[in-house]
Symmetry: C2
Subunit: 428 residues, 2 copies
Amino acid sequence: MAYRALLKPLRPGTRVASLWGARALSERKFKPEKVAVVTKTTRYEFELQRYRYAGLSEDDLKQLLAMKGSSYSGLLERHNVHTVHVEHIVDSLQREGIQVRVLRRREYDEEAVRWADAIVSAGGDGTMLLVASKVFDKDKPVLGVNTDPERSEGHLCLPVCYTHAFPEALRKLRKGEFRWQWRDRLRLHLEGTGINPTPVDLHEQQLSLAEHNQAHRISTEAQRRREDGAVSCPYLLPVRGLNEVFIGESLSSRSLHHRGKPLKPHLTLSLHRASYYEISIDDGPWEKQKSSGLSVCTGTGSKAWSYNINKLFEETVKDVLTIGQTQAGLDVPLTQEFVETVTKEYNESLMFGPEENRLFFSIREPIVNRVYSTSRQRGFASRVCVRSRCWDACMVVDGGMSFEFNDGAIATISLNEEDQLRTILLKD
Amino acid sequence: MAYRALLKPLRPGTRVASLWGARALSERKFKPEKVAVVTKTTRYEFELQRYRYAGLSEDDLKQLLAMKGSSYSGLLERHNVHTVHVEHIVDSLQREGIQVRVLRRREYDEEAVRWADAIVSAGGDGTMLLVASKVFDKDKPVLGVNTDPERSEGHLCLPVCYTHAFPEALRKLRKGEFRWQWRDRLRLHLEGTGINPTPVDLHEQQLSLAEHNQAHRISTEAQRRREDGAVSCPYLLPVRGLNEVFIGESLSSRSLHHRGKPLKPHLTLSLHRASYYEISIDDGPWEKQKSSGLSVCTGTGSKAWSYNINKLFEETVKDVLTIGQTQAGLDVPLTQEFVETVTKEYNESLMFGPEENRLFFSIREPIVNRVYSTSRQRGFASRVCVRSRCWDACMVVDGGMSFEFNDGAIATISLNEEDQLRTILLKD
């Protein structure tokens, strides 16, 4: 309880620290024996893999990139910067007598999470999201180090000074000169017809035959339900959203296969197709909507994609203020500075803290006409229910896991204290 | 010249009517002998095809839709409304002694365009875009009739009254009680490495083997160019954008096949991946940008997707005005009415006429950080050049044609009077 009182003035609804939280205060030391370090795949590695796959050599890659105006040496440089930082992290941990396992994206799994006392993400925010995606235990601390501070924002990572001075971070952690930050995460329930609780991992870049066959599930599932007379119960998905859940029409790339032969591959593009769905906020009335999609984010996520969806630019703010004052018959000098101040204040109001126990929804590019309306384009809530009316939509969690979300499926997005992610707040 | 003088005050740059235009004024009668009527595919037809393809009967479809909470009878009703309106159009034309060919989406081709003296689009705005996509002749008039006025906006179609009274429209056209409207369209030049001028038709919902093989073009093309030492010249694409061109990272669903076996299908989602590119407006300096994509639209298109990207909601306008007046120390009563007025004026400023000879670009959800900046989030121009820095992006023209636009490709978007589409302006 005392620990939370140390925070800035709380928004209503912020949870009082649990007994466990209070105990952690007195035990606020970080002395893991075993640490898993999960590293990102650099663009250099990705391009190499991609072209090697197409049968090109590293020399070919160099030439190809040069022709495109890209810089092979630039990619290699960023790759080296990352690698040096990873080595620094690993050395620093080993010097403390800590057992270290270095894992690439594909090697990181639930077994590694169980083995480790703590997990370090060595990359950018994307790598932190990956690391978080396999942690379901509130006791397991996750620590992010930004291995390319010049290029990566690193909102979820430690302050940039620790990238080059990781031993200093470890020293503070050892001495308790930090605080735990339990970041809210979203949980998802799915119900209704035609749901498919098996996600597609968007970073895997691969579809297994099983996933291809899931495309058949519509007819199979429907068949089965009709036979069973089954009523579907809400199914809790085995994922937690650290940043956000985004729902929208997707590019459907499902190649239907029958006995190994492709039937009729579908290709439809999400860029232009509107998403149709119904939405209910905090158990309020259902509203039919048509838009470019819906984002539901945590406080952590309010600085990420949601922020980019909602932020305003100075030119827009200036135009609004200009029209406003003309309409009001005023003549306030709209200086660059004034416009900047108003813009900044507006944009800051879009962000909130990672521990406030509330979620934020925003509808992207709502389409308003005779059939569809939007009473609120965005707002805070505790619970958001969405019923898909889409042809081929999905729910994307933290930009990494994609679940089918087609006509008839109902998703409930909410928060639960159990789902919090334990991270570290270190001062600069 | 006189004809254009009849228009509202012109923006600078509006073209003076060509000699052809002036001549058309005196010949302003519409007496085609042969008319092609292109009809849309209703959702009912689509669902039927889709489920029939998966082996389900119409009864199965009924049950499946019911389980999803969708209405089979609703879909059928809209289908019937459309069909009745198509029959009305065809009857009306035939009664005038006009030869009519009714064509479905897949049957509509360049031969039909050559055969017809005029083309009627029987559907919504999507069908109009399809019809326009195969017309490259300024002399060929295109006319849109909204066959489902209750559900379809029909910005590109005749006023809704003519849907039920098409003979009245034909009467006015016969008597010259209308004016021609030549709508500006965008043209695209592509150059650079790894370009692929063969588009994917997004409405076709099918990938041929040839298109699958195009996925291999990176290595093949690169190989060939290295061997040829070829310098790529700008290639004029055989499409014209009536609404807009949208550039962004896409879902890459290209299944690589080798001797009929799938190699490694790629699946990456556009919903979350930022688009990287460089942009130059009116031959100005190149600017590196990261965003959710870039839209370049015509006056016609300024009421479509571009409008939805840029429009503001009252809650946003109210927040900006509230912050603005607090900062300025004012106390203007921000009534609902006042906020509505300001919002409306702002949103109307986003739209412009179809004949103004200028294009409008907007950057969707720009990401601003240490590396990327956006000097202008949107504005008017005559010419926009974009250089792709994307991993897997495309250029989508009117939501229907998609061109690969990967790292190194350069697109130039501009206007040319030759590309205008001849449509009809009928009063209510």
